[in-house]
Symmetry: C2
Subunit: 328 residues, 2 copies
Amino acid sequence: MTTRVGIFGYGNLGRGIECAVNAAADMELVAVFTRRDPKALKIATAGVTVASVNDVASYKDKIDVMILCGGSATDLPKQTPELAKLFNVIDSFDTHAKIPEHFKNVDENAKANSHIALISAGWDPGMFSLNRLYANCVLPNGKDYTFWGKGVSQGHSDAIRRIKGVKDARQYTCPVQAALDAVRSGSNPELTTRQKHTRLCYVVLEDGADAAYVENEIKTMPNYFADYDTTVNFISQEELNKNHAGIPHGGFVIRSGATGVNNEHKHIIEYSLKLDSNPEFTASVIVAYTRAIARLHKEGVNGCKTVFDIAPAYLSPLSGEELRKNML
Amino acid sequence: MTTRVGIFGYGNLGRGIECAVNAAADMELVAVFTRRDPKALKIATAGVTVASVNDVASYKDKIDVMILCGGSATDLPKQTPELAKLFNVIDSFDTHAKIPEHFKNVDENAKANSHIALISAGWDPGMFSLNRLYANCVLPNGKDYTFWGKGVSQGHSDAIRRIKGVKDARQYTCPVQAALDAVRSGSNPELTTRQKHTRLCYVVLEDGADAAYVENEIKTMPNYFADYDTTVNFISQEELNKNHAGIPHGGFVIRSGATGVNNEHKHIIEYSLKLDSNPEFTASVIVAYTRAIARLHKEGVNGCKTVFDIAPAYLSPLSGEELRKNML
């Protein structure tokens, strides 16, 4: 079975999806939809249609799953419920606090139109969520820890760029090694925000800008930096472009728990990711779940799902027999 | 919903199941079945029936899921298919090469009697299998590595004990740090058996035994030790009892893969376990899947399953709404 895929939005994530779909023998990229002038958009794959988002309805019967690649702040809360009327849809909505509301909106429209939808695919939410869930079920008596990084935070980089005198910036979130070690020891420490992560900033100043002012503005910024130990390095645009052009990320989900008549046996479950490209890895997760929902839709399953609701075998192109033989 | 559970076999695993079931608010331990004289078997939980395996059929309507705690060599290949005629069943069958045959035998009897069964729950097979599957689906272009330890191998300890002059022994399987580091670097090394694991043995000799003979017999034993760098330490029974009484284990599942137009971005997915008690952790996994199959049976699902076939949400006592709010 070939799954016919559409990409809705062509930024970093959309390009990652394009790569991952092209690498999958059982998927076919039908069209990329853009808000820009379709004629002006050049995509990586030869022979694939580039269409305007305004024409998406005409692809209703040509696409099995539409993959939404917009942002969680303003795009996805509108687009995913809207497109769920026309297509099976999948997104990477990552505003954790608003997931219940987003789920409800998508679920209603998907069910009303006999479509399946999957929201919040990626790695956090996504693979990290799965690992939190499995580890909690297996070790009910325990404590969860999630660490992020070392990796680029786009939101924090943007916040620095809004400061007067800043030309460009890149912010890395870094887990604190001592905190990781303490968690892995099984001592179940209580950790403050400051103890878990540090923030490392590379900043390019505009000509004549006041470095001391910029550094103070960064380090005292509420929510973003004030609660963290923050290091600010001023570098040239050339150096930023040369050494900080990538979008690496990763992190750790650890559960530390105990079993036994008197909880005398300790156990550590740890899942970690070390990613050269955050958007390409996110895209790879989404494409695996695209395969899953295409199959489930053929089985007649409708409504909104998350990674929690999908049996892992649905992600694989291999048969149950092959999986049991080679991976169990 | 309360799941009524039976334990079939009361060794290390059975005792671990008893602990895990007692810790679960939604489970009730109904009876423990033994091949020994039930009157002679004292279990940890007050007020729970101890019955003979010969009387198991009379519990047909009193138990929702029977948890099989026998060994994979001779017990489970017979017991799981047989008991699947009477009950929903779950086991931790771990002879990887014979899983397809075991699956078929269990599936036929479970389906013919409208029962659900789940085989090969635990951590390998089990949690490690899940992580191999997820990582393969997310990074199709990559390479898998599984390391075990540091942990006690019962089979290798037994093999040492069969050597003439050996009174007692404990064998630890240890991953080689340099191999782990090479895998984590993303270099996708080809590793031989010797390069991945070492074997560490603690041996108690009988009075007058020939230490050099025993050491040579261990180090040259085909399949078990000949392909590994093996260290043999002779210690007293007291020291063995004091320092090597536990059954720790663990290991690492790592997938190293690449994405991008030219596979230019590398990614490492790593899952690891560090377990004080191998049987209690195995039991904890089994009990989570016991909850899952009890629910699926209520939904009318029959036949043999593995961890690959179970959506993760079924493992949790929490509702879908709670899971989306707190763990996604």
